[in-house]
């Protein structure tokens, strides 16, 4: 029988190593991908997502089961990412943001579109590099909100729980993020 995340978390709290490995199997890729999207750096994402698993390992007993495990765990990931970005804000001003897509030999990304509207055509011509540059202009919370929606396929209610805000505030974060991305990416054309 497949055990739920919540049950595994309870077992981690009782120092069950196998349960911890099972949660790692299920969530390591999503945690890393989410951290990488928010932080824009694979090395930072590696450190921060590992920190999130260390918190899980050490504080599994604090999971009270009132919310889903994923909500609790992704709140840890997102909070660590936001803290990391705030801590490194001054440093990022000194060192330019490096990007793997700066490689000119990298294959271009131009997703096929079955129904290209005028706005879509303008945006879909952009590369991932420009998208990430536009993401840099978002606040950590806006970035987390929009990425939780697109990458983790979470509803605005679930995002609100992770960000510890109301659903309407989460929707405002998402709207502002999308409006900024739309504006920035169109301005680059």
């Amino acid at each position: 029988m497949v055990q739920s995340d919540e049950e595994l978390c309870r077992q981690v709290a009782e120092h069950n190593a196998a349960a911890f490995e099972a949660l790692l199997d299920r969530h390591q890729a999503r945690a890393f991908r989410l951290a990488c999207s928010i932080l824009g750096s694979e090395a930072d994402a590696r450190d921060v997502s590992q920190d999130a698993f260390i918190r899980l390992y050490e504080a599994a007993g604090k999971f009270d089961g009132r919310s889903r495990f994923t909500t609790w765990f992704y709140r840890i990931v997102v909070n660590l990412c936001i803290d990391h970005k705030r801590r490194n804000k001054w440093w990022r001003k000194m060192v330019p943001f490096s990007n793997p897509d700066d490689d000119p030999d990298a294959p271009p990304v131009d997703p096929p579109s079955p129904e290209p509207g005028p706005e879509s055509l303008a945006i879909r011509g952009d590369s991932g590099r420009r998208l990430r540059a536009a993401l840099e202009g978002l606040s950590p919370t806006q970035r987390a909100a929009v990425l939780l929606q697109t990458e983790e396929d979470l509803t605005s209610r679930e995002i609100a729980r992770i960000l510890k805000c109301s659903e309407s505030t989460a929707r405002v974060h998402i709207h502002r993020a999308l409006a900024h991305l739309k504006k920035t990416m169109r301005a680059d054309d």
Partner: protein
């Protein structure tokens, strides 16, 4: 009255994250509002680009990732154990407590010395002077039988109210 443009409802609408009634209202608005339709089109494109971009994030070598994670967990556990062992060892625990106690005492001493005397609280010198004066008074009272005949005792209350004594009172006193 003209309906306001859509804002925060667009993204949830595109993702099917609205209730049935909200969905009908937003769809109705989009059908009649070119500006909101353009926003919805643009947001859909941004969301799609974000999703595609996320799929391009390269995955790390998971075995190396997990080995590193387990090393970090073990290192933290070791640090915690060393810290606990320090408190469990009586000699180290006493040494740590003594050091902490000395530090606290030093801080308290520095604070006390650097603190100016508070108004209303007499300084040590003032208390010593009052004590000496009190002692002198006690010595004087021990020799009261001698002192009472020397007319040295003064009734300060009388002196204080001398100007209130009328000349008639003084004359009566003289007559008696």
């Amino acid at each position: 009255m003209r309906e306001r443009h859509l804002e925060t409802e667009i993204a949830p609408y595109l993702r099917g994250d609205l209730s049935a009634s909200e969905r009908v209202r937003v769809a109705g608005h989009l059908a009649g509002c070119a500006r909101c339709r353009a926003d919805a089109d643009a947001f859909a494109a941004v969301l799609k680009t974000l999703a595609i971009d996320a799929a391009r994030i390269p995955e790390p070598d998971w075995s190396a990732y997990r080995a590193e994670l387990h090393r970090k967990i073990a290192a933290r556990r070791d640090r915690l154990e060393i810290s606990r062992a320090r408190w469990r060892s009586p000699r180290l625990a006493w040494a740590s407590m003594a050091t902490a106690g000395a530090a606290v005492a030093a801080i308290v001493l520095v604070l006390m010395l650097s603190r100016p005397p508070q108004p209303g609280v007499p300084a040590v010198e003032q208390l010593a002077m009052e004590d000496a004066m009190g002692g002198a008074d006690v010595g004087l009272l021990r020799n009261y039988p001698v002192v009472e005949h020397l007319d040295l005792l003064e009734n300060y209350d009388v002196i204080e109210h001398l100007d209130e004594v009328t000349p008639a009172d003084t004359a009566n006193e003289n007559r008696s």
